[in-house]
Structures are given as C-alpha cells and as structure tokens.
Amino acid sequence: MKIIFYIIQKEFKQIFRNKGMLPIIFVLPLLQLVILSNAATFEVKNIKFAYIDNDQSTSSRALIEKFEASTYFNVQTSFPSEVLASSAMLKGEVDVVIDIPLYFERDLQKDKKVNLGITINAIDGAAAGVENVYITQIIRSFSKQIKMDLKQKSDSQIQPVNIETIPLFWYNETLNYKTFMVPGILVLLVTMITLFLSGMNIVREKEIGTLEQINVTPIKKSQFIIGKLFPFWIIGMGLLTIGLILARLIFNVPMLGNLVLMYAYTSVYILVILGMGLFISNFTDTQQQAMFIAWFFTVIFILMSGLFTPIESMPEWAQILTEFNPIKYFVEVMRMVMLKGSGFIDILPQFIKTLIYAVIMNILAVWRYRKTT
C-alpha cells in the first residue's frame, strides 16, 4: 500500500509539473466540448436553392414563394435551362434544383398528376436525405392548399381521407441536438484523454529508461500498475465532473438521472480505457507508436459508437462489432441517465458488459506487462 502511495505521489508531481501537459489535459477537452457541441449538428440550414420555372404561372410562383418563406432554404436564382442548373450544381453553387414543368398550373387545375423534377446534390448523403424531407414537406403542404382551393371550385371531387401524423418527441421535446450531442461528446473527451495519457505514460518511462530502473526494484507488478493508473482514473473522473458542470451551465442539458449512478458507471468505464492504454504501452516502444495505435482505436470506436450515426442503420456485421465498443456503452448510459433519468436496472446490461470488459482488459494488460523479458 505504502509503495503504491509513493508512485501515485510521484505521478501527480510529474503531471502537475509539466506545464505543457496541463492545458492539454484540462483546457483543450473543455474547449472541444464547447466547440464540438455547438458545431456537430444534424440540422441542415441555408440550403442553396434554385429553380427552373418553365410555367411562369401564379401557381409556380406560389410554390417558389413557399420555399422562400422557409428558414431552411436560401433561394438563389432561377435558371432558364436544365443545363445551366446542372453546371451550377457541379460548381457547388446550388444544392437543390426544382424543375417546374410547362402547364404546371393548367394540369393542377385539371387535377391531373403533375411531376416536379427535383435534383439534390447528394455528395453528403445524410444532408441530402434531410433536404429531401424538407422539400417533401413543403410540396405536400403546397398541394394541400391547392386542393382546398380547387375544392371550393368543384365539390363533385371525392377527397381521399387525409391521414396526418403528429409526432411526439420524448426525452428531447424540442429536438435540441445539443441535448443529444453534449453527453456524447463528454464521453469522447473522457475516453480520449484517459486513453492517451495512460497509453503514453508507461511508454514514456520506457523511452527515457526509467522503466528499466523500476524493473530492477522488487516492486510488484500490481503495485506499479495501480500506482501508475490511479492518477489517470482521478483525472478522468475530474474531467467528467467539469464536463457535467459545463453541460449544465452552458448547454442547459437536463440531468434527470442519478449522478451517483453516472459516477459509478464512469468509474468502471475508465478502468476499461486504462487497461487498454496499459495494454497498448506493453506492445509499443515509443510514444509515437502508442499514439498511433491509440488513435486507430479511438477513431473506430468513435465512428462506431452511435454518437454521430445511429447503430441501427449500420450493416449487421458492424452492429455485432459495436458490441465490443466500450464507447458505445458509455454513450448509451450517458444519454439514458442524463436525458431519460434511467435507473440502475435500466443500465444494468451496459453496466455488466462494461464490468466484464474492464476485468478482461486489465487481466490481459497486467499479464502482458513483464518485468523480465
């Protein structure tokens, strides 16, 4: 016990003495939290909209006005021909082109089927999907209006029963993406900082030769490792605390669940990450190598965590892979506890999986750590 204390004391001295590392540990992550939470949005705004109006009628102008009235669309120009519109899209000047055919108004009045040509720049598929939804909504509401106008003119028409869905958004009523993103980004920060610090810390001692000096002392593997990793566990919990305070103060993210539960889960989760960091440092000889491997895993873990893209929409094999992604569980737990107020029973599956993960990871790491080669 006493020996562990000496190592912890030394680690903290080194961490707080390193003027270059302190801001990296505490300031950068919080800057990231503020910037990323504000920037990483799924909403698509300022869509550059153009049209080809072949009809030049009251109806066609009414349709375009509807787009102009929308806050999502930025109506740019009218193009006389499809060719010009296409080349503008190629240059990236427009995102969406709507092609209104000749006799648009006449056909509407005759209640014939009217085809509108809509072209969407789909390089960013997700954005294109969102744009498509917006456009469909606008056109639907436009056609409803027209139908009502027509109905007044001819009552003989049989109206189809209109089915309308009224969605209720639970747990995030206003669909505020920040409420959704902040807990996730907090997860990222806690993970990245603890993984990088623990992964590089022991390799650093390898590089400067002090690890060899440690290995010729009678210190036990477990003493050394606990002493080494404990400070980073503390730092991880500290980051979580600061992050939660910021989430509350700056982003006003609701905190429905039990804070104790959140801390209990995080304390186990960080063990997974520290075990991983230690495992990486066992296999590497330089901080550079450790850094690259840590990066490789974080990128995969982040992109497959359900943080930015829903896991449900991944192919099946990828969904199976995400079962091995600790970040996925942390993101789920964070969102469940913070936004839904989930209790211990609700997060039990994640809790158990994380616990097993932590045990396996640390056993592997300690087993791989060799005082004698």
């Binding site: 030394k10 290995n215 010729v216 005082k371």
Partner: protein, 242 residues
C-alpha cells in the same frame, strides 16, 4: 555454492533469434570484490548484466546472485542488488530529494529511514544547494553521482554499474571511483562494466568479453603478466583484435 561467492554463473547463455549475444559464460564474483566486466561495444556485457539483475531471462545455463537463482528467484535478487544503468535513469522532472524519496519508497524503506538517507546522501555529495532543484537541470557528472548513491539507498549486497562514467570528465571519474571504493570498503560487492582501461586497473579482478565469450579473467596484474604488456589497454587490444 561457495559462501564467499555472491555471483556465480555457469554456462550462462542468451540467444536472440539466431544471434548468440552471450555465449556460455562461467565466472564467479566474491563478496566485497570490485569486479570489472570489460568488453568492446556489442561484446554482450550489458546483456549478461541484465540476466544477472533479473530483467532478462537467460536462454540456458545457470546463475545465482546473492544466493538466489536467476530463473526462479529474480524478485528476491532485486531486493539485494542496486543497479545503475548506462542511460541516466532518475526522473529529470523531479528534484534530487523527490527522486531519493521515490526510490527509497519503492524499495520499501520507512519514512524515517528515507529522511536519514536523504540527509546523508545530500551531505556526502555536498548537494545542499541543489537538493530542491530538478535533477534535469544538473550537470551529468552530478547526476551520475546521485544515481550511484540512489542505487545504494537500500543498502544492497551487490551493486551493478553499467558504464557509470561514460561521458564525464577525468576529475569526476576520479571522484566517482572514490565513491566506488568507499562502498566496497563498507562491504558492498561492485560489479562494474567500463570502456576505460585505466579504470580496469582499479578493479580487484577483471573479465574481458569478446563476441559473447569471456576470453580472460584474472587480476589486472596477472593479466598484464600473462599477455606480457604493461597496461590493461594493451591486454584489451590483444584480446579484442584476436
């Protein structure tokens, strides 16, 4: 094992892939001796030493250090030895005092003992003024003296020094050897590797390694007689050139 021998190696071998770094070396070191472990760069000195201090497992052969087997009792060996590596291995970002406290701590010394040892060490080396300075800011010669003192902190039976005087000036080297003599006088066995043949003259006995094998082992005086030269430098050159 002869109770007077604190290190005893027999046919100790280390093979990396198809390269034999240490080829069946046999020797013993007596209690209280200053044993010089000589050899050219790459002769296998450091590898041999790493096997003896329990951080590298021998491929074959047998060795006992301080009465413990290197294969099965490496951790017991570590309690009884001190080690100063080729690379300076104290923490540059800790002060002199903090380094002493840390290493004393992980060797399991009591708080009181650490305090006493710290004071002793600082007085002996005349480090009063720099005791609270970061080790990284001190000149190399000082660092090495501190390293050596830290290696002796837990009063080991044997201390292993891997090229302890590399890169320091002749005056500091001289002072360093005075420290070695003092430790030996107090009963500590010294196992030292070096490049400097004048330093070899200070040893009680020396072994000379060439390509993984011990080619000569005796007192400096007898080796000079055997090779009919008048200094260790010539002994070394005769052997190393084969």
């Amino acid at each position: 094992m002869n109770s007077n021998n604190v290190i005893q190696a027999e046919g100790l071998t280390k093979i990396f892939g198809d390269f034999t770094a240490v080829n069946a070396i046999t020797f013993e070191v007596k209690k209280g001796e200053i044993f010089g472990f000589l050899g050219a760069n790459g002769a296998g000195k450091t590898t041999a030493m790493k096997m003896l201090i329990g951080i590298s497992l021998p491929t074959s052969g047998a060795a006992q250090v301080a009465g413990f087997d290197v294969f099965t009792k490496a951790e017991d060996i570590k309690k009884n030895i001190g080690y100063m590596s080729q690379k300076f291995a104290l923490y540059d970002d800790l002060t002199v005092k903090e380094n002493i406290t840390f290493f004393g701590g992980i060797y399991g010394l009591s708080k009181v003992k650490i305090k006493i040892k710290t004071k002793e060490l600082i007085d002996d080396l005349g480090l009063d003024e720099v005791a609270n300075q970061l080790v990284g800011s001190l000149p190399l010669g000082w660092k090495q003296k501190i390293s050596f003192s830290v290696a002796l902190l837990h009063e080991p039976k044997i201390v292993f020094l891997d090229e302890p005087t590399g890169g320091v000036d002749p005056i500091t080297r001289r002072q360093f050897w005075e420290m070695i003599y003092r430790a030996a006088h107090e009963g500590t066995t010294i196992f030292v590797t070096t490049h400097y043949m004048d330093e070899a003259e200070y040893c009680d006995r020396v072994s000379i390694m060439v390509n993984g094998k011990i080619e000569a082992l005796d007192t400096p005086k007898k080796l000079k007689e055997q090779f009919q030269v008048d200094n260790m430098n010539d002994v070394f050159l005769k052997l190393a050139r084969g």
